[in-house]
């Protein structure tokens, strides 16, 4: 999906987490994490914040507008 870039996979790997583990921490399915990483699905603000908190970072570090990258 255009417009939004994310570095979720890199942040997740940095924390040594699998997709399933991150999914469990954020209360979603592994498929949801997978589709976000592949830029197929854009998460809600709430889920973005939950992901950022689980990865000890900020939403801005994971997600960015394409024109800002």
């Amino acid at each position: 999906m255009g417009g939004l870039r994310n570095s979720l996979k890199a942040h997740r790997k940095k924390q040594d987490l699998t997709q399933a583990q991150l999914a469990e921490l954020t209360h979603v399915s592994r498929k949801t994490i997978n589709t976000i990483e592949n830029a197929v699905f854009i998460p809600s603000t709430i889920l973005s914040l939950r992901i950022a908190r689980a990865l000890n970072t900020s939403v801005h570090d994971i997600f960015a507008l394409e024109e800002d990258v």
């Binding site: 999914a23 209360h27 979603v28 399915s29 498929k31 949801t32 997978n34 589709t35 197929v40 699905f41």
Partner: protein, 134 residues
């Protein structure tokens, strides 16, 4: 039951319902009568699906159900419903033409359109499942 099992049962139930309804509609069109099989089949399939989906939601923990119905799934379900709506609208045009050209009768069109309208979102959800999105 974990979230994956709940999602699999739910997806399977919706898929099966979609296929039953599609099968009924195709039978209506190919057999050439509005009741090619007992007319309660689509209704019973729908009621059983509703029962299964409700039961797996009620009999499992709220946490597991919440993950099974997470925002990706809700988004895909909403997308399936939107697609189903437009398919239903286009069916009026398609069946209107078929009626105008005496390809189908009004009772056939009624039976086929009703079941296809129900089948469309379920089959679109099945497509999302096959694509690995739910």
């Amino acid at each position: 039951m974990n979230a994956t099992t709940i999602a699999t049962i739910r997806n399977g139930s919706f898929s099966l319902l979609g296929l039953v309804l599609l099968g009924y509609a195709l039978a209506v069109l190919f057999v050439g009568r509005p009741d090619p099989m007992p007319p309660w089949v689509p209704g019973l399939a729908g009621a059983l699906t509703a029962l299964v989906v409700t039961l797996i939601s009620r009999l499992n923990t709220r946490a597991a159900v919440s993950v099974a119905w997470d925002e990706l799934t809700r988004s895909e379900w909403a997308r399936s419903l939107r697609g189903g709506y437009w398919m239903a609208v286009w069916m009026y045009a398609a069946f209107g033409l078929a009626l105008f050209n005496d390809i189908v009768t009004y009772p056939q069109a009624f039976a086929a359109m009703g079941t296809l309208t129900g089948a469309a979102p379920c089959l679109l959800f099945l497509r999302a499942w096959i694509k690995g999105r739910v």
